[in-house]
């Protein structure tokens, strides 16, 4: 009998009596701050005042609804206000001092010149080709490096070390330096097998070396993120270490790392602009040429537009792919 009273105390015996909460959040301070952007700040404050009035009258639920409306308007103020003021800042920036910045970066004669665009696109085609070649090679090369770094056992320690040293070296060196060192040095040295390489090919080689080091880390993280039970299941069926990687671990890992992989590839695409440093007539070199001949900086703007236009659709595609796969990968 005494046991039971301990487990379930009688109603009304609790230390603090249960009460209906009459607390109402009016978001008064936030609403006042929201006035910094009046179009949404004013409704925020009005709702907040209304919430206070209703709360005083004891209409608690209506007061809470008004308070929540005030909070919504406050958030609108933050988002829309920031965007509006930033737009205003840009307008000011490009109109200040008789619009000198607009003149320099968006000179009408240049930006509407079909010849200038054609020249830039011709250069940009080189950037795209170099990026595509480098990316295709990096996909394979980086996976190889990652797999080597994850070889098991003491007997593989030396080769693991070699792979790790490669990654450290090329992740630590600026891409532009790798490009300069490999291109000019190798060109002069006339190395066997490499002596017929063009400057563009040396550039691809350099980008592969640099981005291979980055991407191998992405692969490695992906492979390590696959739970060991997947490996155990595959090995228990008799699959070898290599078969397990190929059929079970890597396919899952690759799906998991598509997004960071794309990040690195976008970085690679942008770094193709470094080819201008070794005398390749790609988009940046051509932009510079336009700038010099027209006494403007509009060439840079146009080149930047090309890179952005190339990048945006890629991120959207990968977002969609990642969403599709994430559902399936949750099971297992």
């Amino acid at each position: 009998m005494s046991d039971q009273t301990e487990l379930a105390p009688a109603a009304g015996a609790t230390a603090v009596p249960w009460q209906r909460s009459s607390r109402v959040l009016t978001y008064r301070g936030a609403s006042i701050a929201a006035l910094l952007f009046p179009p949404t700040g004013i409704p925020a404050l009005l709702s907040s005042l209304k919430a206070g009035r209703l709360a005083k009258e004891g209409r608690i639920e209506e007061a809470r609804l008004a308070g929540e409306r005030a909070r919504d308007w406050c958030w609108y103020s933050v988002g829309i206000g920031l965007a509006a003021y930033f737009a205003l800042f840009l307008v000011l920036l490009f109109t200040i001092r008789d619009g000198v910045l607009r003149e320099v970066y968006f000179e009408r004669d240049v930006i509407t010149s079909w010849d200038a665009w054609r020249s830039l696109l011709k250069g940009f085609w080189i950037n795209i080709q170099v990026a595509l070649w480098a990316e295709a090679i990096v996909l394979v090369w980086a996976l190889l490096v990652a797999v080597v770094r994850l070889l098991p056992g003491r007997e593989c320690a030396p080769i693991r070390f070699v792979a790790a040293a490669y990654c450290d070296l090329f992740r630590g060196t600026p891409a532009v330096l790798v490009l300069l060192i490999i291109n000019f040095g190798f060109q002069r040295a006339r190395l066997p097998l490499l002596e017929n390489f063009s400057t563009t090919q040396y550039a691809i080689l350099s980008l592969v070396l640099v981005y291979g080091a980055y991407v191998s880390e992405v692969y490695r993280a992906g492979i390590e993120s696959i739970h060991w039970s997947q490996t155990a299941a595959a090995r228990s069926l008799g699959l070898s270490h290599g078969q397990t990687l190929r059929h079970v671990v890597v396919p899952q890992a690759v799906r998991r790392v598509t997004l960071p992989l794309l990040n690195d590839f976008i970085g690679l695409q942008k770094d193709t602009a470094l080819l201008s440093f070794i005398g390749v007539l790609e988009v940046l070199a051509r932009a510079r040429f336009i700038n010099n001949s027209q006494a403007t900086f509009t060439g840079y703007t146009m080149a930047a537009i090309l890179f952005v236009v190339l990048t945006i659709p890629q991120t959207r595609i990968v977002d969609r792919l990642a969403k599709r796969h994430s559902l399936r990968m949750r099971a297992g």
Binding site: A232, S236, Q243, Q252, R328
Partner: protein, 247 residues
């Protein structure tokens, strides 16, 4: 004859000595149930038999051949010894059928068409042929575990290890998995299972081994071990199980 012989097997994870001299013998067509508290070494023992964990000391023999230590062909061993895990571990990026046919094609070198026919026949046996082209995430836990069993069976192992295969399942899904094991036992499949389903162990086992502190503390036919255990520890363990309403 003895299909599997385990002799004085030791296994430690760092300072944690899990197996301290296990000795055990499994004859062809036997169904051996390992029971014991969590941490008594049931799962570790099964993983050692499949060479997923290397053993520190002792010897394991399959049909007379040594299958532990260095210098053995682990992939050949695993063709003969299948294992099913508590957490199913199906490959989430492959269809059910592909899960079943992967090893027969890649390891046993079967032609895909033949492997798929065999796979479909196996899936039909467990009533999941209409799920063959689904991905594992569309299956219930019980269905996934049945597929995992079939995946191991597709390699036609001589010994099947089942590592607490119903522990991760909702209660209403346990029966469908146990029915398959029961069916396999009736067909004469040699099996070793770690389990907490004492009622089931009592029903299908030809031999029950009580593991305690890394050794086989007591073994015997199920009627004797469950009905009249000799050892004090075994009696205590079974008393707890009865109190929990699981026997």
């Amino acid at each position: 004859m003895a299909l599997l012989e385990i002799e004085d097997v030791h296994k430690a994870f760092g300072d944690n000595q899990v197996l301290r001299g296990i000795g055990l013998r499994v004859d062809t067509h036997e169904v051996v149930c390992l029971i014991g508290a969590s941490g008594s070494g049931k799962s570790t023992l099964l993983r050692c038999i499949n060479a997923l964990e290397p053993i520190d000391q002792g010897e394991i023999r399959l049909a007379g051949d040594r299958v532990s230590g260095r210098g053995i062909d682990v992939n050949a061993l695993r063709r003969d010894v299948g294992i099913v895990f508590q957490s199913f571990n199906l490959f989430p990026h492959m269809t059910v059928l592909r899960n079943v046919t992967l090893a027969p094609i890649k390891v046993a070198g079967l032609a895909s068409k033949l492997a798929e026919e065999t796979g479909m026949a196996l899936l039909q046996r467990i009533g999941l042929e209409e799920k063959a082209h689904e991905y594992p995430d569309r299956l219930s836990g019980g269905q996934q575990q049945r597929v995992a069993i079939v995946r191991a069976l597709a390699m036609t192992p001589r010994l099947l290890l089942l590592d607490e295969i119903t522990s991760a399942l909702d209660p209403e899904l346990i029966a469908e998995v146990l029915n398959i094991v029961r069916q396999l036992a009736d067909e004469g499949m040699t099996m070793m299972l770690a389990t907490h389903e004492m009622g089931f162990a009592r029903e299908v086992a030809t031999k029950v081994c009580f593991l305690h502190e890394g050794v086989v503390h007591e073994e015997g036919p199920p009627e004797q071990l469950f009905g009249d255990p000799r050892e004090q520890r075994t009696r205590e363990f079974l008393r707890h199980i009865v109190e929990a309403g699981r026997l």
